[in-house]
Every structure is written in C-alpha cells, then in structure tokens.
Amino acid sequence: MSYLNVENLKKSFGRNEVLKNISFSLDKGEVLSIIGSSGSGKTTLLRCLNFLERADSGKITVGDKVVFDGADEKNKSEAEIRKNRLRFGLVFQSFNLFPQYKVINNITLAPTLAAKEQLKTNGEYMGVKSLKEAQQLINQNAEMLLEKVNLLEKKDEYPCNLSGGQKQRVAIARALALNPDVLCFDEPTSALDPELTGEVLNVIRELKDADSTMIVVTHEIDFAKNVSDKIIFMDEGVIAEQGSPEKVIDNPSNERVKAFLSKVKNS
C-alpha cells in the first residue's frame, strides 16, 4: 500500500461533474505532476485534497490514516477537518501572502496560533511548555525555511516589496512551516514572468532531493518530466493516462495526451 491513496474521488458543481472517479496513489518522497488542459479538473482535485472543496464521495488516505471519507464526512467536526487538512499543504498560483505581515510573520502566523491552541489544550507544543519557548522554536524554524528558499535577507520586508518569484518562495516556506505530509502546488509558476519561474522550480527540485512528497499541477512539461516520479494526465474529469514520465510524456498511448503535448511543445 502506498503512502497517499486517493480512491474513487468524485466532485460535481451542480450538474457539472468535474471529477469523475479519480483514483491514484503515491509513495512517500515521490513527486507527482498533474498535467492537462484548463478545465480538466486538475485544480479541483488539488482543492479537494486540501479541503477547500469537499468531494462528494471517495476516500483519501495518508499513511494508514483516513483523512477523508465521503461516506461519513458529515459527522466530522470542524476541528477534525482542520486537523486532517494539515496533512496537506498548498501553494497557490497567486501566492496569497498576507500583505500586512512581514515575510517572517507570514510564515510564523499559523504555527504560532497552532502553538497557542495546543498549549491551552495539551499544555505542550513540540516538547516545550511556554508560549515564549514555542515562539522561539517557530521563529528558528521560519528562519531555517527562509534560508532554504534563499530569502533570509528579506525576512523583515513586506510582501509588496518582493518580486513574484520571491513571493512564491515565501509562500512555499509558509506552507512548509506546518510540516505537511504532502505538499501541493497549484500552477506555482503560472503567475510569474518567464525569467522568474526558474527560481521557484529550483526550490521545488531541492525539496524533492530532501524527500518531500509533492503533488504539482503544472503547465511546465519539461519540468514535470525532469522532476516527477509519476505523471497524471487529466482530461474532462478523468485520468486519461498515468505512469512514469517516460511513459506519459515520451510514449503516450492516449490520443488526447498526444494532441495536448504537441500543442504545448509547439507553443
């Protein structure tokens, strides 16, 4: 059994069936790229994994823990859903940094709130017992993450003073600060100028070397081919083809995949 298992996921908006029975699995430390044309359901799939949309039915398992089960999702409390969603992190296409917070505080905000909550209920957060110590840990971790994305010198800047690529790197650090089991990227470079995509893709590559489990929705076919262990091609709400990059990108059997790839390669 794989680390992440998605079984028979379905999602409709009104009568529009966006995800029709999506199943796939991913091993720990693997990178999955999801490609396909706009409207194929890629983003909706990612949003279902992150509980920004609630799937209508299906099952999502991480490790041996069921994080989503369409059958008894209604019985779950808000707190339980919040806990489950933290197994996934999400980096948005449009960064969505919090403009009023400095870079460092963008990263520390959510962990600090979580620490406060845990100290209140358990009297402990990551082995420390006071908020001050917790904040110290959180700050150290944030600085370490900023170092990782090469932006430590920008820690006291506000997001409005950063370039798009820098913003996206901060957003990645922010998502990592909560230690998600699976980190998702929703077209992380689509809102960037071409010369800025490289720095973001490099960060994702480095994360792969550090054995992060990741799912990347992307239009960067070359990047997907180079960095992924597995590729899914989505078309009209179904997985039209999946497998190794060699199989899906170099030797696709599905006609829609071939048509898509030739269009992307020629543009």
Partner: protein, 214 residues
Amino acid sequence: MEQFFNVTGNLLEGFGQNCIIFAVTLVAAIPLGLIVSFGSRSKCLPIKSITRTIVWIIRGTPLMLQLFVVFYIPSLVWGISFDRMTAALIAFVINYAAYFSEIFRGGIEAIPKEQYEAGQVLGMKKSQIFFKIVLLQVVKRITAPMSNEIITLVKDTSLARVIMVPEILKGAERFTMQGLIWPLFYTGVFFLLFSGLLSILFKFIEKKLSYYEG
C-alpha cells in the same frame, strides 16, 4: 468682548452635547455596524433579508424623522418615554450603524477569497482568519469612506435639536430670539475646528496603514 466670552461659553456648553452624541454614536455604532454587516452577509436567508430590510429602512428615511420616531413612538404606544438625550443617542447609533454596516460589508467583500483560503489551508479557524488576516486589510480599505461618514456625523449631531436636545445650534437660536444673530454663524467655527481635527487624525491613520500595499 464680555458678550463674546459669554456667547462662546454658552455655545461651548451646547457643543458639549454635540460631542457626547458624537462620541457615543461612534463607540456604539462601529461594533453594532460590524454585527449588522455580518447579518447582511449571512448565509441564512431570513437573517440576511431582515437585516437588509432594516438597513434599507434606516438609510431610506431622514435621520430627523428617526429622531421623532424614537422620541415619540415609545411613549405613544407603550407609555414609556426616554429622556431627550437618550432618544437622540438611540436614533443616532441605529442610523449610523446602518451606514457603517454597508461600508464594512463593502470592505469585507473587497478582500479576495484567496486570503481566506490561504488561512484555511494553514489550518486557521474562521475567527482567526477574520481577526488575524482580514480585519486589518478591511480597516485599511475603509479608512477613507469611514472618515467621510464620521465627519458627516459631527455635523449631523446638530439635528438632535428637533427633539429639544440643548445642543449648540439650539443654544445659538436662543441668542437669535434675543436679537443677537452672529452667534448662529459663529457655531460654524466649532464644527470646522472639530472636523479639521478629525481630518488630521484620519490622515495620520492612513499614513500609519500605508506601510504595506495590497
């Protein structure tokens, strides 16, 4: 000269009433307006339509009429009566809460939904998202329309004289009846000074909030 000091002292006393109405309205109508703005954004249809109807009625009728309603209706219908100042305060707070609520609603709806989603995927609670992420961005966006509304409030306070609250214009009218007309125009100075101070304050707040963009 003595007459000038006499008039100034007298008007100042009246202006104290205006200041009370101003301060109480501001302090009470801002939180009430926030609650009303939640009501008019509610997903529960009855709450939403009731709130929006009330806001429509309050914004659609003159404040002067509302002052009369609050002052006379309770005593006519239930036999209870508020003193003049209390009636004025109730009318002002309700009226301004309705206006503020629309400004708040506009400000809240201007925040992109991605800001909420970013908070959600970071495991934050709804209340945390509102207070830690959305609120300050809303404050920044509504500073200009709020300053407008608050300066209007300074001048509106003089409407309280229709239910005989002894505010500044009421005081000036007393001098007019004695044949002294200039105090009536002199009241303008009080309003100008007060709204001038407020303008400076709002400039300062806007500057304070300009440390970030977006």
